[in-house]
């Protein structure tokens, strides 16, 4: 048997096992710190040996992550982390591969590798730090910067329509998509745990705040005054309810979602859309992922979690099948199989 494990029991690891000795070089107040703490809390509780974790990143502020995790890591090429992580996972499928990326790394230069990794359904976990700005190069707009926002490269406001990561993931046949806030450590930890357990590519969009170049990018969803009306914590099997008074909800009307008030126009809780994260059809998940203020609240939590065969499982099954069914068992048999001739 390959890779024989000598220990039979897994030692219970702690957060400290995953903290590296590196000085964390993110700005004070950066949302990345909270994400790092959450990941440090999640890794020891996955039942995975420390040496089986690999943290892969591209380029950007978020991509400094591998230095700060006491695991194996690769700080790779701008936009190529998804391809690199694919290589790591396929070369050694028993590894737990975590890809750390940002909105620029993942969806601008890396957009192509990103959608193809999701389409293949490689079993890696992608944490997408979405701060809607290029932080490392000091403040140019990214593919998720809101249209009209003024940055160093859009002093008159951007002309471009931003990507919504959820739409891309589900559009690329993704099976796991969740969205969390960097201000909610408990929420992050719970969602990261679920993402880790999902077989196949999981993508968690973390709405992360860059204090220097786009401070308060997510303020509408995070501030005490406005968050209740602009965020909706979704839970599997529960109706989509939100608002300070918990009296607003989402209904499916025809082919669209609509915000309603419970108690008005005869609407009751029973009329509301009930979230089913396991539904295979992506239609409603796509609609929930697309919800954005001012028309809708932003959906937070696990939006889509559907079991499907992973690429590496198909690959290994195929290899196993061939090993079992092929008439060729040895190198000699291969050399003498078919296509041979005699020179007379």
């Amino acid at each position: 048997m390959e890779n024989q494990i000598i220990e039979t029991e897994i030692i219970q690891l702690t957060k400290e096992d995953f903290s590296s000795d590196q000085m964390v070089k993110w700005c004070p107040g950066c949302g990345d710190h909270a994400i790092l703490h959450s990941v440090e809390n999640v890794f020891p509780n996955l039942g995975i040996r420390k040496e089986d974790f690999v943290v892969v990143s591209g380029i950007g502020c978020s991509s400094r992550f591998p230095y700060y995790m006491n695991t194996y890591g690769v700080h790779s090429i701008h936009g190529r982390a998804a391809a690199l992580a694919t290589g790591v996972k396929l070369a050694n499928p028993k590894l737990s591969v975590w890809m750390i990326t940002g909105d620029g790394d993942c969806m601008a230069i890396g957009g192509n590798h990103f959608i193809h990794t999701i389409r293949r359904n490689i079993d890696i976990n992608i944490l997408l730090f979405n701060n809607k700005i290029y932080g490392l190069t000091k403040g140019q707009y990214s593919p998720t910067t809101p249209k009209g926002h003024k940055t160093k490269t859009s002093p008159q406001g951007t002309y471009e329509r931003p990507f919504n990561p959820g739409e891309l993931v589900i559009g690329a046949q993704g099976n796991f998509f969740a969205r969390v806030l960097d201000t909610n450590p408990k929420g992050m930890t719970a969602v990261f745990m679920e993402a880790a357990k999902h077989k196949g590519t999981s993508l968690v969009e973390i709405m992360q705040n860059c204090v220097i170049f786009f401070n308060k990018a997510h303020e509408l969803i995070t501030s005490r005054e406005t968050r209740d009306d602009n965020q909706l914590q979704i839970e599997h099997g529960k109706p989509l309810i939100f608002g300070k008074e918990k009296n607003k909800g989402i209904i499916l009307k025809g082919t669209r979602l609509e915000v309603v008030t419970i108690g008005e126009n005869g609407v009751t809780e029973a009329d509301l859309l009930v979230h089913d994260q396991y539904e295979k059809d992506p239609g409603v998940h796509m609609m929930i992922a697309r919800m954005m203020p001012p028309e809708f609240p932003v959906a937070l939590g696990v939006i889509r979690s559907v079991a499907a065969e992973t690429f590496e499982q198909s690959m290994m099954d195929s290899i196993a099948y061939e090993k079992e069914h092929s008439s060729i068992k040895t190198v000699d048999e291969m050399l003498n199989s078919g296509g041979t001739w005699t020179i007379e």
Partner: protein
């Protein structure tokens, strides 16, 4: 006298692009050249001249936008720094193969890989020996001042269109980031669509009755035709070697020793030459302005005048030094000196290298 300004090298390059009548700039942020796109965006060149500026999703996208715009006969440029320029190489090879004009700038930082954001000259091989695939050349201009960052944009466009070739402005983090006085040239008007159609019969300007369809391509599956195309390219490169060599000689008339350098290394070496002269050492500076074409003939002429030793100073592990060796053909000793990986050498280090490696034995 043109307008005088105190500017960063990157800003001077950006301003010069507007003034050179460029139609478009496509770029992507990367340290240490992000000021190029930031300056262009802030200047609103669309209001000034109608020039378009776009932040692409990657360097690859940017060079392919350049490829498209160049094919349409427009004056177009992009810029980046080393890792980003590596990404552009496929596009450069195709632009060279398709014989299109464009200007692009590399504000070099230390490598390989992600390297560092500090200055370097380690992209000399990539710039002069190919970079992309195939037998192609590009004209490489090496500014040593903020003034030249501006001037070479204009010169670059002139050469690019004269020879239908990519022109690279190869600077480094020092030249890109430092501020100096610069005399800006006057605004050159952008060409109208009618002027482009008339001047550039190769451009895709719309098929008119009785004209042939123009297809921009670098492909020909007929090897005989492809060899002919390559021979044509080689003839063009030969013409460029004959006509477009540019360099500056400082204190070379009576020089027994010569330092060869370009860009910020030339500025540092110039100081080293002054220090050496004070000590009575007869040394001159051969500052390269074009890296391709390389001034091989001019170096041979200096050899004939009895130069005893050559020191190639560059912020790399030794790249340009190979061309110096090939040029002087063993007439005298050739050595390399340079710090690299983001370290900038001092004039004192250059002088010490001259004394130890060239004069010493």
């Amino acid at each position: 006298m043109g307008e005088l300004k105190l500017m960063k090298g990157n800003e001077a390059l950006a301003e010069a692009a507007i003034r050179a009548g460029a139609d478009a700039y496509f770029g992507y942020p990367i340290t240490p050249q992000s000021e190029v796109i930031e300056y262009l965006m802030a200047e609103k060149p669309y209001d000034r001249t109608g020039m378009v500026v776009l932040q692409a999703e990657s360097e690859i996208a940017a060079i392919n936008m350049v490829y498209g715009a160049a094919g349409a006969g427009k004056r177009v440029l992009t810029s980046s720094s080393s890792p980003g320029v590596s990404l552009k190489q496929e596009g450069i090879s195709y632009i060279a193969g398709s014989e299109l004009p464009c200007v692009y700038a590399n504000v070099v930082r230390g490598g390989p890989g992600l390297g560092t954001i500090q200055p370097s000259q380690a992209d000399y091989f990539q710039s002069t020996k190919g970079g992309g695939h195939g037998d192609y050349k590009q004209i490489v201009l090496a500014p040593a001042s903020v003034q030249e960052m501006s001037d070479f944009v204009k010169l670059g466009f002139d050469l690019a269109f004269q020879y239908r070739i990519p022109v690279l402005i190869l600077s480094d983090g020092v030249i890109g980031q430092m501020m100096e006085k610069v005399e800006l040239f006057d605004q050159i008007p952008r060409l109208t669509d009618e002027e482009v159609a008339e001047k550039y019969p190769w451009a895709t300007t719309g098929k008119k009755k009785g004209t042939e369809r123009r297809i921009i391509t670098s492909l020909d599956l007929d090897s005989n035709k492809m060899e002919e195309h390559n021979l044509h390219l080689q003839r063009k490169y030969k013409t460029i070697v004959e006509n477009e060599v540019r360099y500056e000689l400082i204190d070379c008339d009576d020089a027994e020793y010569i330092i060869v350098a370009y860009g910020s290394s030339a500025r540092i070496s110039q100081k080293a030459v002054q220090m050496a002269r004070k000590k009575g050492i007869k040394v001159g500076l051969f500052r390269l302005i074009t890296l391709f074409p390389f001034p091989a003939k001019q170096m041979q002429e200096l050899c004939k005048k009895g130069v005893k030793g050559w020191l190639a100073v560059e912020m790399s592990a030794g790249q340009m030094v190979e061309d110096v060796m090939l040029s002087v053909k063993g007439c005298a000793k050739v050595e390399h000196f340079g710090r690299f990986g983001g370290i900038v050498h001092t004039p004192e280090e250059v002088l010490r290298a001259l004394e130890e490696k060239i004069i010493g034995d």
